[in-house]
């Protein structure tokens, strides 16, 4: 093996020693003992790699990401199907449909889907970095801040345009969720909008349903095309006045 080839191989040797036992590196590592120049090169390269790796390890994920992952995956986990034969899956699917129809026909306040969306919105309201850009988002905020203006319906929301022009877009269980902040009657509100074909399907009731938690309150409703949440720290009474 020539020196250039040894350098090439040693370039893939993890600086922390994770590849010590890998025979692919054995010959190149042996050469570093017999060739002082190569040995010095390897020592410098490894020290440099170690320094970069150490700096990279200092980068910390943003606060709240872990909680968002767990909450988002919980939605996904509830959608999963167990490994089973087709016969069992067909039976399970039939049962799910029956249970689903029964559960959603009544849609009492606080259904699972409503709760998940409300939880997500309240968590983001408290922990997220807010702020949208773009004229469409600005126009929506201006409308929402108008005294007595109704909350938006399907005819008012140009979802694609809002998203593409800078409206804050979150990832709710793998699907886009738009958010704008607005103020009315001295209280701050956060409106979230997601498509009806998102992770919750058509599980969100027409509503509005109200959810109150330690971090804040939320109203959740759907117009058949989009699901909406308004979250606030001002309480359910403020939400009722708003809607």
């Amino acid at each position: 093996m020539k020196t250039a080839e040894a350098k090439f191989i040693l370039g893939a040797f993890r600086p922390g020693g994770g590849d010590e036992g890998d025979p692919a590196f054995a010959e190149a590592l042996r050469m570093t003992s017999g060739d002082p120049q190569l040995g010095a090169w390897f020592a410098q390269a490894r020290a440099h790699d170690l320094a970069v790796a150490s700096k990279l390890a200092e980068i910390q994920p943003p606060y709240g990401l872990r909680e968002a992952i767990v909450a988002g995956a919980r939605v996904g986990g509830r959608q999963r199907r167990p490994a089973a034969t087709w016969g069992w899956m067909a039976l399970a699917a039939a049962l799910l449909v029956a249970v689903g129809l029964y559960a959603f026909r009544g849609s009492p306040p606080g259904t699972t889907a409503t709760r998940q969306l409300a939880d997500y919105a309240i968590t983001d309201m408290v922990q997220g970095k807010h702020g949208s850009r773009g004229a469409p988002a600005g126009a929506l905020v201006a409308r929402l801040q108008t005294e007595g203006a109704p909350m938006p319906g399907a005819g008012d929301i140009d979802f694609e345009n809002l998203r593409e022009t800078g409206c804050r877009t979150l990832n709710f269980a793998g699907h886009d969720l738009l958010e704008v902040c607005f103020a009315r009657d001295g209280a701050e509100f956060h409106l979230y909008v997601t498509r009806r074909d998102g992770p919750l399907g058509d599980a969100v009731a027409k509503g509005p349903d109200f959810v109150s938690e330690a971090g804040g309150a939320a109203a959740v409703w759907s117009d058949g095309r989009f699901d909406y949440v308004v979250a606030t720290e001002a309480g359910v009474a403020a939400l009722r006045r708003l809607l």
């Binding site: 440099h48 988002g72 995956a73």
Partner: protein
């Protein structure tokens, strides 16, 4: 997988996954989305994996695929031959330079490395995966990983020198038709 096991998996992997995502996406918001999306896919599909020991590779692979899926297709069309070479050899002062830098500056320099090199380079520095696992994660031959590590390190050293001399860390020039998201 029950909730407790899932939480343990998140605790063990979400930080290195975020670092990988941050180097690819170049901003914290997109990186967070990528990590969240990756675990969401795990929750919906990955729980079928029988060997939990493969979860780490699966997560990195899925995150990388999600990143590729989310950006423009034409960004994949460039060949390595078009990419600028990097010949800078390591020097003794490189180690001192990096040691004195803050983590954000080093990440910024890493983000300036061309994407073709950046992905394997970041996985290498995370030290979670061997070069064979990196090859499997990125779906490229082992020799390609070694080549990209070599050239990527040279680009990174140049970027770090530039950052140290007070210069702004800029992305390496892209060949025609190659754009980042």
């Amino acid at each position: 997988m029950n909730d407790e096991a899932f939480a343990q998996l998140v605790d063990a992997q979400y930080a290195p996954l975020y670092r990988f995502a941050l180097s690819l996406a170049r901003n914290g918001s997109d990186a967070g989305d990528l990590v969240q999306q990756t675990f969401f896919i795990w929750a919906t599909k990955g729980h079928g994996l029988r060997e939990l020991s493969k979860a780490k590779s699966w997560l990195f692979t899925t995150l990388y695929r999600e990143f590729l899926r989310g950006r423009r297709r034409d960004a994949r069309s460039s060949s390595l031959e078009d990419l600028p070479p990097g010949e800078k050899e390591p020097a003794a002062e490189d180690f001192d330079r990096v040691s004195k830098m803050d983590a954000a500056t080093v990440m910024s320099a890493l983000q300036s490395v061309d994407e073709a090199f950046r992905a394997p380079l970041t996985l290498f520095y995370l030290e979670d995966l061997s070069y064979q696992e990196i090859a499997a994660t990125l779906d490229v031959p082992v020799g390609t990983v070694m080549s990209r590590l070599s050239r990527g390190k040279a680009q990174l050293r140049t970027a770090l020198s530039s950052a140290d001399s007070g210069g702004k860390v800029l992305p390496f020039p892209q060949p025609k038709g190659h754009r980042h998201s």
